[in-house]
Amino acid sequence: MAPVASRKTLIGGMTVIGLVMLWFGLTTLTGLVTSARFPSPAEFWLSLKQINGRGYAGSTLVSHAFHSLKLVLMGFAVAVLTGVPLGLWMGWSRRVEAFVNPVFLIIRPIPPLAWIPLAILWLGLGDAAKILVIWFSAFVPSVINAFTGVRNIDKPILEAARMLGTPRWRMVREVILPASLPMIFTGLRLSLQASWTTLVAAELVGALVGVGFVLNMAQQDIYPGMILVGMVTVGILGWVTTLLLARVERRALAWNVAARD
C-alpha cells in the first residue's frame, strides 16, 4: 500500500504546485485574468495584510472569524441539544413519532436558508437571528439521524437488556444512547456543515461583523483580493471544525470495533 499512497501524495502535491503556478502565470505574468476578476497572489497577500493590520469591515480577520465561529458553535450546540433528544425519543416511542411526524413533514421541505428573512424580521441583524437560523438548519439532521440510530439497534440487545430488568434511565444511558451513537455522529457532521452554510448565508444577507460580512463588504467594494481572503477563511474554519468533530467522534466511539478503521 505504501507506494500507492506516496504516488497519490506526489501527484496531489504536484497538482497544488501546478495550480499555484497557473494562478501566478494567468494573473501576474501574462495578465490574462485581470485583477478586476480574480486577485493575483500579491494582491491576495496585501489584502490579507490589510485585514490583519488595519482591519476591514470594522475589525481584523481574527475577530471576524472568531465571531462567526462562536455563532456556529452556539447554534450547533442548541440544535444538537434539542435535536438529538427529540430524535431518540421519537425513535423510542411510536406514539411520539406519530405525534411529531406530520408537523415535521410540513416544516422540513422549507430550506433552512428560507428562514433567514423571517429570522431578521423577528430578531434583527444581531447574533440572535443567526443562532435561530443555524438552529433550524442543524436541527433536522440531528433529529433524523438520532431517530434512525435508535430504530436500527439490534432487537436482541434491547430484549436482553429489558429481560434483565434494566430500569428506564439506565436503558437510555447505557443501551440506547451508545448503540445509536455512530448514527448520531453522522447526523452531527451533516448538522455542522449545514450550520456553516446557513451562517455564511445569514451574514451575507445582513450582519455587522463576521466572515460573511467581510465577503459582503468586499463584494460591494468590488475588492477581489478581500473576497478571496473571506472564502479561504470560510474554508479553513469549516475544515478545522470538521476535524475537531471527527476527533470527538473517535474518542466517543473508541469502544466501537466497526468504526475503528
Binding site: 497538482t15 495550480l19 406519530a98 405525534f99 421541505p109 428573512p117 452554510t197 463584494q219 477581489p224 473571506g230
Partner: protein, 262 residues
Amino acid sequence: MTSPSLGFRETMLLGLAGLASFIGLWSFLSVSGIVPAQFLPGPLDVASRFFDLLTAPFAGATLPAHLASSFQRYAYGVLLAAAIGVPLGLLMGFFRLLDDIVTPLFDGLRFIAPIAWVPFAALWFGTGIGGPIMIIFAGAFPPCLINAYRGARFVEPRLIEAARMLGTPSTRMILEVLLPAAVPSIIAGLRVSAGLGWQSLVGAELIVAAAGVGFMMVQAQGSVQTPTVMAGMIAIGLVGMLIDVLLRQGEGWLRRRRGLES
C-alpha cells in the same frame, strides 16, 4: 423493538393531534397578541396572503411568475452541474491519474460553503441570471461528481476485466460498461443535487437577484410584510417537495425498468 407498532387509527389520531397543537399554538400566539400580529400573522392570514399572491403582483411579479423565474435559474444550474459533474466523475472513476489530480482540489474546495461563492459569482457573471446559476451549480455539483465517481469506481471488477479482455476501447468502456453500471448511484446523486441546488437557489436569491421567490421575500422583509415572507416560504417548500417527489418517482421507474426492484 421499541414500543410496539401502533394501529392505523391511533397513528392518524396522534398525527392529527400533533398538527392541531402546532396550528393551535401558532394561532394562539398571534391572536392573543403575545407576539404582535405584524411579526407572526396567524395561519389563516398567511394562507389568504398566499392565495392573493397567486394573482396580485408583489415586488414586480405575481408569485407564480417569481417561481417561474426562480425555476428557470434552478434548472440551468442543476443541468449544468449534472452535465459537468457526471462525466467528470465517470472519467475519474476510470482514469486513475485524473482521480489523483482532481481529488485533492475537490477536497480543498469542499469545505467552502456554496453560498460563499456569491461575491465571485456576482463579480464574474452579474446578478441577473449568471450569478445565481453559478451558486446553484456550486451547491449541486459535488453530489453529481461524487456519486458518478463512486458508481464507476465500484463497478464489479469482473465486468471491467471481461470487457478489457475483449479489447474494448476506453470510450466504449466508459459509455457501455461504467455508465450503465453507475446509473443507480448517479440517480441517487442527482436527487441529492436537486435538493441542495434548490437550497442554494434560495440563498442566492436572498443575496443577489432582481426577481424570484427569494427576492420577493427579501423585499417583503424590508417592508415588514411578514405574511408575504411566510407565503414565500410555503411556496419554496411546496416546489422543493414537488421536485423531490418527481425525482423519487423517476428513480423508482428506472429501478423497476432495470429489474433492480429493492
